[in-house]
Each structure stands twice: as C-alpha cells, then as structure tokens.
Symmetry: C2
Subunit: 265 residues, 2 copies
Amino acid sequence: MTLEDALSVVDKEGIALVDALRRTLDAQPGLPRRRSGFPVAAYLEAHIEQGPVLEAAGVTLGAVTGVQGSRWFAVEVRGEEAHAGTTPRSSRRDAMVAAVRIVNALYDATTDADDLLRFTVGRFEVEPGSPNTVPGRVFFTIDLRHPEEKVLETVTARIHEACERHRGPCLVHITMTSRVSPVRFDPELVEMVVGSAGRLGLSCRRMQSGAGHDAMLMAGLCPTAMIFVPCERGISHNEAEQAKPDDLAAGARVLAGCLVRLAGC
Amino acid sequence: MTLEDALSVVDKEGIALVDALRRTLDAQPGLPRRRSGFPVAAYLEAHIEQGPVLEAAGVTLGAVTGVQGSRWFAVEVRGEEAHAGTTPRSSRRDAMVAAVRIVNALYDATTDADDLLRFTVGRFEVEPGSPNTVPGRVFFTIDLRHPEEKVLETVTARIHEACERHRGPCLVHITMTSRVSPVRFDPELVEMVVGSAGRLGLSCRRMQSGAGHDAMLMAGLCPTAMIFVPCERGISHNEAEQAKPDDLAAGARVLAGCLVRLAGC
C-alpha cells in the first residue's frame, strides 16, 4: 500500500485518515512527527495480553515470540432491492442471502484443530435495512490472523472461492484493505525474558501476540521482544479491562531485570 | 396486539407510533379520523401488482383472490465483545457467528417447492460494528408470508428451533412484532373481475396478493376484491416503479365495468 493510498482511506463517517491525523497533530503540537535520530540497542515492551490464554492457563508471564500476521478484507455484495411480500424467491437477487451463505461457508472453512486461526466478521451492514425490503446491498469486513504467512495465503484463496461459489445471482467485490506480515521477535531477547522470569520464580510461557503492538514496527530497527501479563477474561479496549496488581508488578519486575541486563549493569 | 401496545411501538430512531400519528394528523387537519358512518355495498381496489408474476407470465390482469398472511419477528442475539486478534475461537461468544448460523439454517428451512413462502431478513445490525472486534450483539428482523395460516405456524416453530439449535454460547430472544392472518376476498366479486376482463378481451389470472392493501381491512366490512396490473420487474415503493399506460388503462376499464355492474346500471 502506498503512503498516499493509506492517507486517503476514509472511515464510515467519510473522514479521511490524513484529515484525522492533521486534526490530532494540530491539537497537540508537542507530538513527535518523525523517528528519533539516535540508534536503539533493543526494544522491550510490557503489556497486558489482551487475550484469555495466560489467565486460562494460570501462568503469570508471556515471553512473546512474535506477532501473528493479519489481513483485512472489505467485501461488497450487490443484489437488487425488492418487495418482501410480492417477490418470489426464484425472482430475487437477495444480497443478504448471498452474504450469509458466504460468511457461513467461511466460518466452516476457518475452523482449525489447533485454534490458532482468527477469523472475524465485525462489521456487516445491510441496505436499505428495512424489514420488508429484500436487501440490495451488503457490506462486510473480514479480520483474518495467523502466525504463518502461508496459512493467511490459503485462507485468502478460500475467501475468494467462497464468494464465487455462494454469491448466487449477486455480484461480489473483495478488496484487501490491510496486510501485515507475521513478525518474529529476537530469540535472544525472548530467552532473556524467560530467564529473568525464572530467576524471579515466576511462571512463564513462550507465546504469540494476537494483537498488534508498537513492538512490531521496532522489530525492523533493533532486537525486540515483549512481556505479557494476564488480564481478566481477555477483555481490552473496553471499560471492563482489568489486570491484577500482582501480575502487573511481576511484568514490571521482569522488564526491569531485562533492562538492567541490556544496560550491561 | 392491543391498541395501546400498537401505539407505543417505537421505530429505530426511538419515535413512538402514537407521536408520529399525532404529528401527521396535526399537520393535515383535514384528514378523516374515524370510519365513515354510511354502509358500504362493496369495495374494489385497483393496484399495480408490486411483484413480478403478471409481467413474467405476460398476463394483463390479476383477479386477486386474497392477501397472504404475514408474521414479523425481531430477533436479538447476545454474545460478548472480544478482541479479534487475541481471542481464540473456543473462547468466543461471537453474536455474529450465532446470527449467521441461525439465518443460514432458516434460508434452508424456508425453501418450498411451489415458491409461495416469502422469507426475508431485511434489517440486520451488528454491534459494535468494528472490523477488529468480535460482535457482542446482533439484531435482525424476519418478514414471513404465506397464504396458509398453518404454514405460518409451522415456520414460526422452525424459527424457534433454529435459534435454539444454532445459538452456540450466545443468548437469543425472539419477539413476534406483527401478525396478520391471511385474508380471502369475496368469491362473487373476484368472478365479476374475471368476467369483466373476459368481456373486454383481456387476459386475466386469479392470484394472491403478496403485499398488504387497504382492501384487507375493508374485507371485514363488505364484499371486497382487487384488480392487479403488471409493473416493471415487480419494483415498487421505489423511484424506478413503472407500469405501462395500456395496462393501467386495462385495469381502469375492468374497474369501471365492475362498478357499473355493482351499481346495478
């Protein structure tokens, strides 16, 4: 994606990213506008997991080995509006039927035995949205994530297949709106996290991050890793977000231990 | 449904029917506010079909034998919002998955060989509607229609079954928001329409109305029937609505023929 394309993306209220950024920067003139000029020896980020894995396993720390890759898709299904009472099924081009058939098939096609694949349809809009009108248009998004690039590629092909196979008399247009490759963190730094946790007598497991983080961008510039602590029921980006003080302290202690070691003290 | 319940129904903007009615009546003080006091000998209504049947069959007139019954349902699916990247499928209570599974099963369960059953999901709203959030709530409507009350009853049971079977870890709440029994028009008046068309040399077929009409309410007060003419591709309640002048004239001639006969001239 070119920088120009990225900046011209609009949200559902029609606001372009470039305008939202400008407004944010103008409101806070102190914000840095470019990468710092000094070299970075290493980057270590502590964070709540934002997922349910550590809590469910009863483990205090995650030594994050990398961030799964993701692909976002926008899918538009075009049929034709019609009267719900008078139009026989055989005469309909019902965009809702096509969209539901497609999404249903994709739920079936994205069930993996090890439960690593993340497939989410989070936005799904039906037009005109009237109870007694056969929908003429459906727009929906797909959020797809997995640690392996080749799995993302396979599922991308399945998305195209499902749209073609289940569109019925409707037209379907698929756009890939975002594509982020999986990131692997620095193995030495990951093992430093594991070792630091061990010395402090804290339980720790190596794990992938499900969410995106600043560390993904730093990983291209210097040795990078992350430290996770459990959070309640995986809830985040929500007022109900909660983490135990003891777990937060454990994460901070491991972070401090690693920083001391990285500083050569 | 009691009158009080009906008047307190609110639309998606939160406006109650009673307030919308009051605003309409206040704006047009000349509108009649109650049923006329004089007896009605018969009621005959001419209308475009609002469906594709006559056009597809190449027939000029429909002698309408009745109006199919309808039932409307509002279905609410409640799950739990979660992060699309971090939450494994096995930990999700994805309201979108449940809603799509239910609607998909109902599309399968409402496919009748004679294509008389009308099943439409026209409104379908997903919350919070963010691409990277597992939906916590889905609200959708069902518009169901058929000429036979017992078929409406059977499909109502299937709706409840499908919601129970496919809800997964989510909760589903179904409300029947409207219920209109099928209406049969007066057989003598229907045959008068058929006879009038025949005398004018116009092709005519007996048929059900798919849409609701004023005639449904008049049918309880006096002998009632309707005359349909074709409209382009069944499109109605839409700027693209179109009917041929010759067809409209044919409908008006049959209406006039019947009125003369009813007036005893």
